[in-house]
């Protein structure tokens, strides 16, 4: 189920990842690698960033794809951009 806007960043990121790979949010772990463990290709990684940018209203660019190799790194990226947005 889609988390509401008050859900934690972690839960919202896990939900987005679960939309792109056939894995339930509850089975996704921070240490999992997007490509090797979750089977996401480079197009999927780009989609992940795009969905993240839309869901959290972040100014992410395509060059940030280099930062997202694992689930944990994706969550960290989202938090970094949210902190930057908050000023």
């Amino acid at each position: 189920m889609r988390p509401d806007p008050t859900a934690t960043v972690d839960d919202r990121v896990l939900y987005i990842i679960s939309q792109l790979v056939p894995v339930q949010p509850s089975q996704i772990r921070a240490e999992q690698r997007l490509r090797e463990d979750l089977g996401m290709d480079s197009v999927g990684s780009m989609e992940l960033l795009s969905m993240l940018a839309e869901e959290l209203d972040l100014d992410i660019g395509v060059e940030d794809i280099t930062e997202v190799h694992t689930v944990g790194a994706t969550i960290a990226l989202a938090k970094t951009f949210l902190a930057r947005k908050a000023g």
Binding site: G39, D41, V43, M46, E47, L49, S50, A53, E54, D59, I60, G61, V62, E63, I65, T66
Partner: protein, 341 residues
């Protein structure tokens, strides 16, 4: 009689705005001070459209309702989102989807009173000349070319677009597009593979290219032209692939590319790769449509684009430099290795 369009009052919709050609077209519009409406699909990478702060509208090509809404109040539609099948294994399926979606776009544009639709096709529809001289807009296959799914699909879609009578349709046929924003590494695949020193099996043949930024300017000029040609080829030049790859290998200081496969070997390799990709996922090492385009490639004469639209095509070196700068920034090419100019 179609009324001419004026730049300042242009109300354009770009279908496929988030893609390689679309982003270049959005940038060209921005340079001219025009804000296009940008169609997007649900599962689209819109990072760069968001950064450009353009107006986005939902425009699934299978949704006549969304397309109708996207076309409302628009006077020109750029259709850059024609079906491009991931694999070539299902010709009937590709034709069905490509033509159905094109029909939806044409219907929506016609009903909304759009005056001109610019459909971006492919140089795959350029037929060879008996004389061997470069093909022009007059050289069209009189029946569907039996080369592969991509050629057949592009031929059928272009033929359908040109039969449209409810609104003015102009067809742009670009050669292999190179330049910044090829996020999916489509036509740049062999370039990137060679630059990385990978020995990608490939055939030899004539390849033509165009800088995506020049194509974007050409599309804009097609929109503004009072009486544009019906079909325009966009090509900066044509070369044989093998010496081009050898030049690229020297430029990047990597081993020379493998000797080319024969056409039969190349197609067998592509087909095996497609079956592997269909079964296990991932991308074929060499896309079947690229092999078909190389094997059946013809030199192109883009005099019409230069003359009627005033396009000065960039030399290949400038296109490669721009691609290189961009590809290193987004790490499609390793950022650490300096370019050997």
């Amino acid at each position: 009689m179609h009324r001419p369009l004026r730049g300042a009052r242009l109300r354009p919709l770009i279908l496929g705005a988030a893609g390689f050609l679309g982003l270049n077209l959005v940038d060209e519009f921005a340079a001219q001070g025009i804000a296009p409406r940008c169609g997007r699909r649900v599962r689209t990478n819109v990072l760069e459209l968001r950064r450009r702060k353009v107006t986005m509208v939902q425009a699934e090509l299978d949704s006549p309702e969304q397309l109708a809404e996207a076309c409302a109040g628009v006077d020109i539609v750029f259709h850059l989102a024609g079906h491009y099948p991931r694999l070539s294994l299902d010709l009937p399926g590709a034709l069905e989807m490509g033509l159905r979606q094109l029909e939806h776009v044409l219907d929506a544009a016609a009903r909304a009173g759009v005056r001109r639709l610019i459909y971006v096709s492919s140089s795959a529809t350029a037929a060879p000349r008996d004389s061997g001289s470069p093909s022009t807009e007059a050289d069209v296959f009189d029946r569907v070319p039996a080369f592969g799914t991509y050629h057949a699909l592009k031929w059928h879609m272009e033929a359908r677009a040109l039969r449209e009578e409810r609104l003015e349709v102009v067809v742009a046929c670009p050669a292999a597009c190179l330049g910044p924003w090829d996020l999916r590494v489509g036509t740049s695949a062999l370039l990137v593979g060679t630059a990385r020193g990978l020995q990608i099996p490939h055939p030899d043949g004539v390849v033509s290219w165009v800088d995506a930024r020049d194509l974007a300017l050409g599309l804009l000029r097609l929109a503004l032209h009072p009486a544009p040609p019906r079909r325009v080829l966009f090509s900066a030049g044509s070369l044989r692939l093998q010496p081009l790859l050898e030049d690229l290998a020297r430029r990047y200081g990597v081993p020379a590319p493998a000797w080319p496969l024969s056409p039969a070997e190349a197609l067998a390799f592509c087909d095996a790769e497609e079956f592997r990709a269909a079964r296990y996922g991932g991308r074929p090492a060499l896309a079947r449509e690229l092999a078909d385009l190389i094997i059946h490639g013809v030199p192109l004469d883009a005099a019409l684009a230069r003359g009627a639209l005033g396009i000065t095509f960039r030399p290949l070196s400038q296109t490669l430099d721009a691609f290189d700068d961009w590809a290193r920034r987004v790490r499609i090419l390793p950022s650490s290795k300096p370019l050997e100019a």
